[in-house]
């Protein structure tokens, strides 16, 4: 499908980008110290921070990926919404407050608070880098895919443009500008999606009616298989529906979807641009309708494990994502960390409820591009006019900017604060440390651009699932045991982080999905029974930690008053 850039879209896009850069420059004049760069002086208001959580978290995968998946396959995309939000429950009830008390700038700070060990700092810093980079790739791929239709730019140019803008945001003002960019993006995304949902409900959708050939009476059709003999099918619009009625009617109907004809020929007279398909509403609202989750409907237990494992990874992964964890250092105290998480859960949960409407709306709007599920949400907006399309595309672009800047900041903190200063013991003055972090941000940003170009063909949602698996396997066992098991030792933490990271990474690289999508090999040759490692590697991390801790001598814990000293 070809897209044309409109002056309106380009204008709104440029306005957003320049606005964000100006804001970063303006804020950057004040963020000269390390506390300012890494933690925004710990003085961000909890409400701002809460919305910034949403900005951090609602990445291109959440917005474009989930909407696209629902639009293509129905309910299965919504499984990601459910799992992504469930992870926040772990973050709020278990992780948030201790993380805030134990750390100063980075995740490694918190993990190491009780021990003061270079080994812990190094292993956690490396896991932070690995997770950040795995999470960066899909964001960059998403950005490239977006810029193409929006601005008519080449994919590579799009990825480079995103990379450069993000590097500028992070380098200019670190956590201060990153937080404000995420706040703006988070609120714009949620508000505009709410408006789009209202428009979807007001429009209703087309369902199939069975018309009696004799009386001419039309009754809504509930099943494609059950069209009565002799009846004709008519497609009618339902008119506006309430939020509950919309889903009820959808489930009770045979839904008329229009997809673009992949064999469409512009020259041929009889070639039609779209194909009308009838689909059972009930079937589209059941798990297992997509290739990713087909295993749920299988009789074999091993096929179901993939689904269970992914649901576990999403649940356990959120609270282990480095760019989410560092956001706890931007607020004043544990109570503010708690309050901002609740604000985050509220806005993120509200957004995820909207995704079901956006996805089903995109499915039935007749504007899907069958070659690109990531474009479902912007194209849905286009069905309401050029202005919504331009706005939603620009918001989608800032979505990428917000998440990528958070990730690059987390990675630059791991390099400058954890590895350079705390592991290698390079003594840096405050402003030199900020300088080192800025250089690290540039390097990670350039790396992200290169990887984004290399992995252009990979599915965005699929890559994010991997990042969650690695985060959950490497970080969660150590984090949880550190908080709840007093016998945890330094060696236990190092072993759990290292083994969890390597095991999940190895599992992913040997999985059937990687065989097919990365190496182009026959997926049947893979030696791994299912693709999502969390179900095995998260418990493995716990076992390794317990065994190693019991084998190593107990050490006196540092009292809390010394936690924040190096």
């Amino acid at each position: 499908m070809t897209y044309e850039a409109t002056p309106l879209a380009v204008g709104i896009f440029l306005f957003m980008v320049l606005g964000v850069l100006w804001l970063s420059y303006w804020l950057g004049r004040r963020a000269k110290s390390a506390t300012g760069y890494f933690a925004a002086h710990g003085e961000i208001h909890w409400f701002i921070n809460g919305v910034a959580f949403a900005g951090d978290y609602l990445s291109a995968a959440s917005f474009l990926g989930i909407c696209g998946m629902i639009a293509f396959y129905g309910y299965d995309g919504f499984l990601y919404s459910i799992g992504f939000l469930a992870g926040w429950v772990v973050a709020l009830f278990v992780i948030a407050e201790p993380i805030k008390r134990m750390g100063k700038f980075t995740f490694a700070d918190a993990m190491d608070a009780k021990f003061n060990s270079r080994g812990i700092k190094l292993s956690v810093a490396i896991s932070t880098l690995v997770v950040s980079i795995f999470y960066l790739i899909p964001q960059m791929v998403g950005a490239g895919a977006l810029v193409k239709p929006l601005l008519g730019l080449d994919y590579r140019l799009g990825v480079t443009l995103v990379g450069v803008v993000v590097i500028l945001i992070v380098v200019m003002a670190g956590m201060v500008s990153t937080t404000w960019v995420q706040f703006i993006k988070g609120s714009l995304l949620v508000l505009f999606c709410a408006m789009l949902t209202i428009a979807i409900l007001a429009r209703g959708f087309k369902t199939a009616y069975a018309v009696d050939p004799v009386t001419g009476q039309a009754t809504p059709l509930a099943d494609v298989e059950a069209i009565p003999d002799g009846y004709t099918i008519e497609h009618r619009n339902t008119g506006s529906l309430g939020p509950i009625d919309y889903l009820k009617t959808f489930g009770d109907s045979v839904v008329v979807t229009e997809t673009l004809n992949p064999d469409y020929l512009a020259d041929a007279e009889d070639s039609s641009r779209t194909i009308v398909k009838l689909r059972n509403g009930t079937d589209l609202l059941m798990p297992g309708s997509s290739p990713t989750f087909r295993g749920v409907r299988s009789e074999l237990l091993s096929d179901k494990l993939d689904f269970i494992s992914l649901m576990l990874a999403l649940f356990a992964g959120t609270a282990s994502l480095p760019h989410i964890l560092i956001r706890y250092y931007t607020v004043r105290d544990a109570a503010a960390a708690r309050k901002s998480t609740v604000v985050g859960i509220g806005s993120i949960g509200f957004f995820y409820i909207l995704t079901l409407y956006l996805g089903l709306g995109a499915m039935t709007a007749g504007t899907l591009d069958p070659t690109d599920s990531n474009m479902a949400a912007p194209l849905l907006a286009r069905s309401f006019g050029e202005l919504p399309f331009a706005i939603i595309s620009a918001i989608a672009f800032t979505t990428v900017l917000g998440t990528v800047s958070g990730l690059i900041l987390a990675a630059s903190g791991a390099v400058a604060h954890d590895i350079m200063e705390n592991v290698l013991h390079i003594k840096l003055k405050d402003h030199a440390k900020v300088g080192a972090a800025r250089w690290a941000a540039v390097v990670v940003g350039v790396l992200a651009i290169v990887l984004g170009i290399l992995f252009s063909s990979l599915n965005v949602g699929f890559l994010v699932g991997w990042a969650f698996n690695i985060a959950a396997s490497a970080n969660l066992p150590a984090l949880v045991m550190l908080l709840f098991w007093k016998r945890t030792t330094r060696q236990g933490v190092i072993a759990a982080v290292t083994v969890g990271m390597l095991a999940s990474l190895g599992w992913i690289l040997l999985s059937a999905q990687a065989y097919k999508q990365v190496y182009g090999l026959d997926p049947a040759d893979s030696i791994i029974p299912f693709s999502q490692p969390a179900l095995v590697t998260v418990p493995l991390g716990f076992v390794v930690l317990v065994v190693v801790s019991l084998l190593t001598p107990r050490r006196a814990e540092r009292p809390e008053s010394e936690w924040h000293t190096a």
Binding site: R30, L85, W88, V89, L285, K304, F307, A334, G349
Partner: protein, 125 residues
């Protein structure tokens, strides 16, 4: 330097800090000043409130884990039940919305049940 940095603190933030302090009783207030000089390891109002909050958090977490686990189990092993209608909605949709609503509800409950813990060792003023 630090003084200039305070400009970033929003006016609303300052107001909420004031309200927060007014709401906490004078008793906790006294503990706050005492605790600043006290070691964290001895039991104080701060660590009591903290462990109480942590217990509530774990309880709510366990509750949510049961709801979430039931959902994953249903989807994986009893997909036929997902077609049941709850107030006209399919169970799959109703349960999904329910999970999101439950997370929000439990989060707000947690916020109300938590006691303010005095900030002891941190000094950012």
């Amino acid at each position: 330097m630090e003084g200039a940095d305070n400009i970033e603190l929003l006016p609303t933030a300052k107001i909420s800090v004031v309200i927060h302090q007014r709401l906490s009783t004078t008793l906790t207030h006294r503990f706050m000043s005492e605790e600043a000089s006290m070691s964290q390891s001895s039991p104080s109002a701060g660590s009591l409130a903290r462990s109480r909050n942590a217990r509530i958090g774990l309880l709510l977490f366990a509750l949510y884990l049961v709801i979430y686990g039931t959902y994953v189990g249903l989807a994986a092993f009893r997909p036929d039940l997902m077609e049941t209608r709850v107030m006209g909605l399919h169970l799959s949709v109703a349960y999904g919305f329910g999970l999101i609503a439950a997370a929000m509800l439990l989060a707000v409950i947690y916020l109300f049940l938590c006691r303010p813990e005095p900030v002891a060792t941190e000094d950012r003023a």
